[in-house]
């Protein structure tokens, strides 16, 4: 009897809860199925592939840590890793500073604020192929207007005009380009952050006679800490993923990148789709993942610290 009764209540409770669950799952299902099939499974597969040797056709063989060991003696991998890190170190702070400054300026009551906001967002929405084509014209080593101005007005001798897309300058060009292209995007995020700061804080500071710099130093900057964290992490992740900017600004005669411009994702692509070393290419991808993972962990730690 008792068993029966409990069974009945249990059944009732179950059916109600199950129904609620099913409704909830029905909401999730369309996205989750696609997400699981096209993202989760490949990720699991990617981890496995790093420990295997496969060319996409012949039988798979087990490689253990061989792929990772090989990385240490690979000149091109090391160059790609170095360039990617340099590119990040250059791009992240510059973009952050530029977008913060822009956001602060555009948060003031100025005439045509909407127009300026829209303009600074243009580079972000513009197609990469189109804007890199323009940049390559503007920075053309011998005909471009930038070098033309350097030559005509700054009297830089012809032989010393900067070669923007090769050698030591290519990473600088990539950094400048990225700052230009993405600062509008991060500016919007900063704008959203700025709008969350209560105006009372500023009014109180004004009464105390605080100047512009003091207000920034003691109100804006500390209040924006969490936004800055978010911006820095997103920037870092996106910088590690850089590929198309490099290939479009610095790709050579056969589309190749020399050791001064090669980046991790280009190397992954080359190993996988040109040489069909899928295992090795996955191992490089794992390095990329670890880098991004470490940065994300630092962010979580930092956010926790600020939340306390």
């Amino acid at each position: 009897m008792a068993d029966q009764a409990s069974a009945v209540t249990k059944k009732k409770g179950l059916s109600r809860q199950t129904k609620r669950d099913l409704v909830a799952y029905s909401f999730i299902a369309p996205n989750f199925i696609g997400f699981a099939v096209f993202t989760l499974i490949p990720i699991v597969f990617a981890f496995a592939l790093a420990f295997l040797n496969w060319d996409g056709s012949n039988p798979i063989t087990f490689a253990g840590f061989d792929n990772f060991k090989q990385l240490f003696s690979d000149t091109f991998f090391k160059a790609a890793l170095k360039n990617t890190i340099i590119y990040c170190v250059g791009t992240v702070p510059l973009t952050m500073i530029a977008s913060l400054a822009l956001a602060i300026v555009l948060n003031q009551k100025v005439i045509g604020r909407g127009v300026f906001r829209t303009l600074s967002f243009f580079p972000y929405v513009a197609s990469l192929v189109a804007v890199t084509a323009v940049w390559k014209m503007l920075f053309h080593p011998s005909k471009g207007p930038i070098n033309n101005i350097l030559y005509t007005y700054f009297k830089v001798p012809l032989e010393e005009l900067p070669q923007w897309f090769s050698g030591g300058l290519v990473l600088l060009s990539m950094v400048l380009f990225s700052v230009w292209k993405y600062m509008g995007y991060y500016m919007v995020i900063y704008l959203a952050g700025l709008q969350g700061i209560s105006s009372e804080l500023y009014e109180a500071a004004s009464l105390d006679g605080a100047g512009t710099w003091a207000k920034f130093r003691y109100i804006t900057w500390p209040q924006l800490q969490s936004t800055t964290f978010f911006v820095v992490v997103m920037l870092t992740i996106n910088c590690f993923k850089v590929y198309d900017i490099a290939i479009m600004l610095a790709g050579g005669g056969s589309g190749e990148l020399t050791t001064s411009a090669t980046v991790l994702v280009y190397y992954i692509y080359q190993k996988a789709f040109m040489e069909w070393k899928l295992g090795y290419s996955s191992a490089v991808a794992m390095v990329l993942f670890v880098l991004v993972f470490v940065v994300t962990m630092i962010q979580f730690r930092g956010q926790k610290k600020y939340a306390e």
């Binding site: 499974i41 056709s57 923007w164 005669g253």
Partner: protein, 462 residues
């Protein structure tokens, strides 16, 4: 219950991922098995068929309709694909040739992707370059043709040694139907204007260098470039292998140094356009030459038909580049004139092909005398080269009328841009990379060559 549902979902996704993982490995295994199975079968089939090869071909003509799917590039701008397919279909009414255009930019990468694993439906594929060929051979994506060649008695001598350089462990996986060789294009108007004699079919590199410098005019606004080197590594590195003593697969590249020096010195003196400019613009060699300010340019013979077609259609301004000619490549001291580089374009039968016999018939026809005639009529150089074909091309409307240009078609030694090697895809990308480094001034010639040596030797010794 809820738990059960969740674990069911989890289990399903797990099974899914396992299936995906195993599925691919299992099916590749089976694909590999069937590959070997079909090859051995074919060997068995081919041997008894030897005597009746001709009959079999006859039968095939009467047999049920066959459709062959053929991978090609740039159908719109290249005349011979359609011409070859039409001519073959006219001769073999039961065969339908279906062409799939994969574009020329990343053709071999795209093709290798298509042929990876199973599931490809291509029967015949065009092989554009040797690294791509090596990839396909290693992936077991294309069939060895030896048994067919033996059974049908195809005489490989007519390819003048080109097939030897793409033989893999004694087996041949492609038959060439097009064979381009490099020549020196020059703009006669610029020579006339400068009052300098035209280049000849027998020039040393020193003479060539002097000639290029003589024609150069660095006056701003009316520049004339004595020479032009496209951004490919072939245009510089491969000048060095023409003496027949060296190969790009050696792993020792000091022999390239004099040629890099010649080109970089020319660049420094304004004789040719700067590599970094060309790279930034992505300037196409055809645009450079047809612009009318380049006196000499080394380029493959495929550019001959491009010049003829575009001058006729008015795409190129004939007042700028209409008066052109070709001569043989310059040569190193003490080496016979007429040594040059070759690039073969071949056809292969895929391992996934259901009707390999019909596909082979097509490959044999296109790469044989019949295909050669079609190729020559469109102004392209077939792999089967003889004096008739030369006469045919030299007689086409738009071909330079001077005797030197016709004589330039006579090749004495042909070296493939890249002979087959198991590692040639990797070696190729190393050489490409450091070519870029040297030419853009990122590395000195010595450093670049040292880096090539280290990296290529690491690949070879692996």
């Amino acid at each position: 219950m809820k738990k059960k549902l969740m674990s069911a979902v989890l289990a399903m996704s797990l099974v899914g991922s396992l299936l995906a993982g195993c599925g691919s490995s299992a099916s590749t295994d089976s694909a590999a098995n069937t590959d070997t199975a079909t090859t051995t079968e074919k060997a068995e089939e081919a041997a008894p068929a030897e005597t009746t090869a001709a009959e079999a071909a006859e039968e095939a003509t009467d047999a049920e309709p066959v459709t062959l799917k053929w991978a090609i590039w740039d159908k719109e701008t290249t005349a011979y694909w359609d011409a070859l397919a039409e001519a073959y279909q006219a001769a073999n009414p039961n065969v339908t040739i279906e062409m799939v255009d994969l574009g020329s930019t990343d053709y071999m990468t795209v093709l290798a992707t298509e042929l990876s694993g199973d599931g490809s439906d291509f029967d015949v594929v065009t092989i554009k370059d040797v690294p791509g060929y090596a990839t396909l051979v290693q992936k077991n994506a294309i069939l060895p043709l030896d048994d067919y060649i033996a059974a049908d008695g195809v005489d490989l001598d007519m390819y003048a040694g080109a097939t030897d350089q793409v033989t893999v462990d004694g087996s041949l996986y492609e038959l060439p139907f097009r064979n381009d060789f490099w020549v020196l294009f020059y703009n006669k108007d610029l020579f006339d204007a400068a009052g300098v004699a035209y280049p000849t079919n027998d020039m040393t590199f020193d003479e060539y260098d002097a000639l290029a410098r003589e024609l150069t005019d660095t006056t701003f606004g009316s520049q004339v470039y004595g020479s032009h080197y496209h951004t490919w590594r072939s245009t510089v590195q491969l000048l060095a292998v023409l003496d027949g003593q060296h190969s790009v697969l050696d792993g020792e590249y000091e022999f390239m140094k004099p040629y890099y020096e010649m080109v970089l010195n020319q660049e420094a003196d304004g004789v040719c356009r700067k590599y970094t400019d060309l790279k930034t613009e992505g300037l196409h060699y055809s645009a450079a030459f047809s612009g009318g300010d380049v006196a000499m340019m080394n380029m493959g013979s495929w550019f001959i038909s491009t010049m003829m077609t575009n001058l006729q259609s008015g795409e190129y301004d004939s007042s700028l580049c209409g008066n052109w000619g070709i001569v043989k490549y310059p040569h190193a001291d003490g080496v016979e004139a007429g040594s040059t580089l070759g690039t073969i374009t071949g056809l292969s039968v895929t391992t996934a092909c259901d009707t390999p016999d019909a596909a082979w018939e097509f490959v044999k026809w296109v790469s044989g005398e019949n295909g050669a005639a079609v190729m020559a009529k469109t102004g392209n150089f077939p792999a089967v080269m003889n004096s008739e074909v030369q006469d045919l091309i030299a007689g086409l409307e738009g071909f330079p009328t001077d005797a030197e240009s016709k004589e330039a078609l006579n090749v004495s030694n042909l070296y493939l841009e890249l002979p087959y090697d198991a590692n040639c895809a990797e070696i190729n990308s190393v050489l490409d990379t450091y070519h870029g480094s040297i030419m853009s001034g990122e590395m000195s010639i010595d450093d670049g060559i040292a880096a090539m040596n280290t990296e290529v030797q690491a690949i070879i010794n692996k």
